[in-house]
């Protein structure tokens, strides 16, 4: 029998674990439902939704939905497109936004405060409000590529990448993080003869693991989940990303098992990326000790 006072460590531990388990269940059950449903035929899937069976691999289990999903849509191509667009945008975005953040925090230049305020203001502008002006703009922009000079960026990877490399939130996150770095470290580097580029690349960035991981995760999710912009700018199947591909599965009679199989497949990179960076995030904090 446990004593019900607040000093009982065993009871506190049990309560803590119960709360944590409950929270974990809230997050895990939708994913579990998706994965289990992807293994069931539609009739069973729909019948199971109202019971605990929805979360269990029981009944008529098979990988038929996965096979059918691959037959219905070019999933590999959609995945490749999304990973390419997301990967390039994240890498370039981290570079550009961190440099912008560095400039706002450590360099002195005329109009810095106004420029930073304008960038902050972009955080409250929903993308939907600027989508059409952006569409009109990119449809008329010039491009010099391997196949020569052309007008208009529609139906390309660049139209899905370049407009999203720099964004207000990532710049803001980097700037806020850089503000908390020890000023003495920067000053010492300058006194030792480092150029601003060297300060940025050799001093500041190695100390910025946590914010790089955080910004990467946020940007990855935003890019991987792109839907509105791709349907506006990619009329050719060869450039479509995964979320537009999801629409391939919604017909008059929706094949829910295939939908769940497709969702399971496209969720894997997100989970993998998050888990990979989660480790980097923790390791970065442990190794730098700056934020302690």
């Amino acid at each position: 029998m446990f004593r019900l006072d607040k000093d009982n460590p065993t009871l506190r531990l049990i309560v803590r674990y119960m709360v944590l388990t409950l929270i974990a269940l809230i997050f895990v059950t939708p994913i579990l439902f998706m994965m289990m449903s992807s293994l069931k035929p539609d009739q069973q899937l729909l019948a199971d939704t109202s019971s605990i069976r929805a979360f269990l691999p029981i009944g008529d289990i098979s990988f038929d939905n996965y096979k059918a999903a691959f037959e219905r849509a070019p999933i590999g191509m959609f995945m490749l497109n999304s990973l390419l667009v997301t990967g390039v945008t994240v890498v370039l975005g981290l570079l550009v936004c961190s440099m912008a953040g560095f400039s706002f925090v450590f360099l002195n230049w005329r109009g810095k405060s106004i420029a930073f305020s304008i960038i902050l203001a972009t955080l409250i502008v929903p993308f939907e409000t600027i989508a059409i002006p952006m569409l009109l703009m990119v449809s008329k922009l010039p491009w010099l590529g391997l196949d020569g000079f052309s007008w208009g960026w529609l139906n390309s990877y660049r139209v899905q990448i370049i407009p999203f490399i720099a964004d207000g939130l990532t710049i803001f996150l980097f700037a806020q993080y850089f503000k908390d770095l020890p000023k003495e470290l920067i000053e010492a580097s300058r006194i030792e003869g480092c150029s601003w580029w060297q300060v940025y690349w050799r001093v500041v960035m190695p100390l910025s693991g946590p914010i790089i991981a955080t910004a990467a995760i946020l940007k990855f999710l935003a890019m991987y989940n792109q839907y509105l912009w791709p349907i506006m700018v990619t009329q050719q199947e060869q450039y479509r990303p995964v979320l537009v591909g999801l629409q391939y599965f919604f017909q008059l009679n929706t094949a829910w098992g295939e939908v769940m199989a497709y969702l399971t497949i496209i969720t894997v990179p997100v989970l993998a990326f998050y888990l990979a960076l989660q480790r980097a995030f923790i390791a970065s904090i442990a190794s730098t000790g700056v934020k302690g």
Binding site: L46, L135, S139, I231, Q236, F249, Q251, L252
Partner: protein, 425 residues
Amino acid sequence: MKITKNLALTLLSAGALGSAFVSTCAFAKTDLSLWYHGAGNKVEAKVINQIVNDFNRSQSDWNVVLESFPQGSYNDSVVAAALANNLPDILDVDGPVMPNWAWAGYLRPLLIDKNKIADFLPGVKGYWDGKLYSIGLWDSAVAMVTRRSTLNEVGARIPTIDSPWTEEEFNGVLKKLKATGKYDYPLDLGMAESGEWFPYAFSPFLQSFGGDLIDRSTYKTAEGTLNGPEAIAFGEWWQSLFVNGYAPGNSQDPADHETGLLEGKYAMQWYGNWAALKTLNKFGDDALFLPAPDFGHGPKIGAASWQFGVSAASKHPQGASDFIEFALQDKYLAAFSDSLGVIPPTQSAATLTTNYRQGGALSVFYVLSKAQALVRPVTPGYIVEAKVFEKALADIADGADVADTLDSAADEINADIEKNRGYSR
């Protein structure tokens, strides 16, 4: 000697190149881009690809290049392409949306021989402003789906096209079915669906009561049609379905909508021909596809599905129209019908199909389409009217005051018409 040899070689090369150029020109075809909403539907893709391939082989002027889009994002893609001046030559358009796209300048009238579509069901002909802008290769219809044994059990008369249920009879059937206690609900209206389903499936009830989304004589106001006495009578009847527990409301589980009738949770279902085959497979001869009830102004069902049109941006409208005319052959209409279960638009195509030929399992839908179909309001403002109507019906189902809700809906539609200067060209 060497110079002569080189000259001869040069002339030979030039001759060969010239010949190749002429030969290439002789076989050069002009590309026509075609956008289609069926990405992800393998069966549909097979038929449309067959038509494209047959057309490309049948003549030497045009080469149609197909690009398929997923249906859920198709309209957004087209509107975005129109803004970016990037429309294709040929595109398909949902029937009720066509007037908006024609009004917005996305479409141009078709250049096809009208005699070739004289026998087509009225619902598949996309006329607006007196001009033919689009033509469908199939139509769809809804019916009251149930089982003969279900109706016999409560002693209900089985209605026919000539003698559909009256409002009183229909309500009586619902009451009796409810009283059996065997079903979660007597009727599944498909409230789990959203979007175009509401105006497509439910505005015919309103029209049968004598109301409408808009005054079709002018298309300038919804006052009196969407909030007049007939519309209010419809709204009160609509609300009674949910108050009396005859139909599941807005929170209906989509899974129940998919399987409820088949599993015996619902006694009847108001649903379309595209889902009819699974009902037939489950119930066989016991399955019934009944006409819409007559609420006083004749039984009505919706009409007009996806149709083909030519973009206003096309530099080759004749070639684009030629392709559409080519696609109107009975064999293709029948192929779509057999593959997708849709209704062929001509009797001659119907006779080629498995399900819609005389005595075919789904032939009743062709008859229903011919006898009861009423296209949704043929106006550019329809796309707003549809959304306003959907919200009003959902609110009324949730218990909102009928008169107030329909008044607000009519005001909203009128405000949109005014904002767009009457949708005049």
